[in-house]
């Protein structure tokens, strides 16, 4: 038997199979952007936009590298290590060339809820659009309006350190077929307005489950073990469970957890440092107290 068939027919058959496979791959991974016609007329609420910005801890991942002059602005570029490679998060200040200054409202909603760049490229799910799908449209538009009023910073970042970047990026489209086929999070079993608010902040903009939900072999969140923690995405150590925080005597009550989220280790709550949680806590501390309290109430209800 020859290893490489030379018959023109066999070669032609192989070429056809490859072409069909390539077409199927291309077709399955084609972008499906949010239609501009579905954007409602909207009066932006900048205060709400700012709240959502902090609830999502946007700055934690999109912060500039150490030593940048505008450290408080989300111009991106701080390396974000993951098991598949190092990512350099996008500049989300309104710089027209290197940031999101040229993005339409539909572009922004597409990015946030469909994981698509304005040019149709897929975003890797290190950007948690799977969770952001659960955000309400007016909230997304308020968040965009807030970002558009930040000072534009010109910042160019290295390409992501992922093997076969272009192909992998297109391949994310296959993964999205699975991940985005799942329904977005929606509120169920609310006990009070504050609990509902907390549930929304935790699950939609807060995307706490991105780290605190264990993931299955397809890198999809294992909702059967909701918020039960798991291996740390950066590779060393664990992400703690958020279930039974009171029963396990981590926090006495919602008032204490609120205090912990607002102050973190400045008041000695050392569980809120390390593994990236210190950054998240610093962002959550900027929320209105009623929102931090709502988050605490919701988290302590996870039993």
């Amino acid at each position: 038997m020859r290893l490489f068939p030379r018959s023109p027919r066999v070669l032609a058959a192989i070429a056809v199979v490859l072409a069909v496979a390539a077409f199927v791959f291309w077709w399955l991974t084609r972008p499906d952007p949010f239609p501009a016609s579905a954007i409602p007329t909207h009066q932006a609420n900048l205060e709400n936009g700012e709240t959502l910005y902090h609830a999502g801890s946007c700055h934690a991942c999109h912060r500039p590298p150490e030593g940048a002059s505008d450290a408080s602005l989300p111009s991106g570029g701080t390396p974000f290590p993951t098991p598949i490679g190092v990512f350099y998060p996008q500049n989300i200040t309104p710089d027209r060339e290197t940031g999101i200054g040229g993005w339409s409202e539909a572009d922004f909603v597409s990015a946030m809820t469909r994981g698509l760049a304005p040019d149709g490229r897929h975003y890797f799910p290190a950007f948690p659009y799977v969770a952001y799908r659960a955000m309400r449209l007016p909230d997304l538009l308020d968040l965009r309006a807030y970002l558009m009023r930040l000072k534009p910073v010109r910042a160019v970042h290295p390409p992501h350190g992922v093997p076969l970047l272009g192909f992998a990026r297109r391949g994310v489209g296959l993964w999205k077929r699975l991940a985005l086929a799942r329904p977005p999070w929606s509120a169920a079993g609310g006990t009070s307005a504050s609990w509902m608010r907390g549930a929304y902040l935790v699950n939609a903009p807060g995307h706490c489950g991105e780290c605190h939900n264990p993931k299955n072999w397809l890198m999809l969140e294992d909702l059967g073990r909701y918020m039960q923690g798991g291996p740390h995405p950066a590779g060393d150590g664990k992400v703690p469970s958020l279930v039974g925080l009171q029963a396990r005597e981590k926090y006495e009550d919602a008032a204490q957890l609120t205090l912990a989220l607002q102050n973190g280790e400045e008041l000695g709550f050392e569980d809120l440092s390390s593994g990236g949680m210190g950054l998240i806590q610093s962002n959550l501390a900027k929320l209105p107290e009623s929102d931090v309290r709502a988050i605490s109430e919701y988290l302590l209800s996870l039993k």
Partner: protein, 150 residues
């Protein structure tokens, strides 16, 4: 006591002593264990300070001085317990402690300076700023140089 019983008691006693000595020796030459103990004491001493900060306890300069001094002493002790190669295993020490030794030393010194400043606080108005600086120094170092729980 019969000879057998005496032998038994003696060997039991000796075993216990040996096991104890081994344990002490192990702890003594294991800096990861020692610095962990020191940090546990820091955490314990922080609790009365937090109680004052959240007004669960009244401001008391003596309590502040006592606990902040313990924190300072234990931080100094812990700082000397990070020899090269003492990471890994159960330790939460990040490799950056040794790859960025100057940064780590600076962070540790800032924490010690903050503890010393806290120990010197005598009036309530200066208390909260000192608390934020001290706790903030713990956070800054832990965010950068400490791994999540293993």
């Amino acid at each position: 006591m019969s000879l057998t019983k005496r032998t038994l008691a003696l060997s039991a006693g000796l075993s216990i002593a040996l096991a104890g000595a081994w344990g002490v020796a192990r702890a003594a030459d294991n800096p990861a264990h020692q610095r962990h103990e020191a940090m546990e004491t820091v955490q314990e001493s922080f609790k009365p300070l937090r109680a004052i900060a959240v007004k669960e306890a009244p401001f008391d300069a003596a309590v502040v001085k006592k606990n902040a001094s313990t924190i300072l002493e234990k931080l100094k002790e812990a700082h000397g317990l990070f020899p090269e190669g003492s990471g890994g295993g159960d330790s939460r020490a990040k490799a950056e402690i040794w790859s960025d030794r100057a940064g780590f030393d600076k962070a540790m010194q800032e924490a010690q300076a903050a503890a010393a400043a806290m120990a010197a606080v005598t009036d309530e108005a200066a208390y909260m700023p000192a608390m934020k600086t001290l706790g903030g120094s713990c956070k800054a170092c832990h965010d950068k140089y400490r791994l999540p729980k293993q």
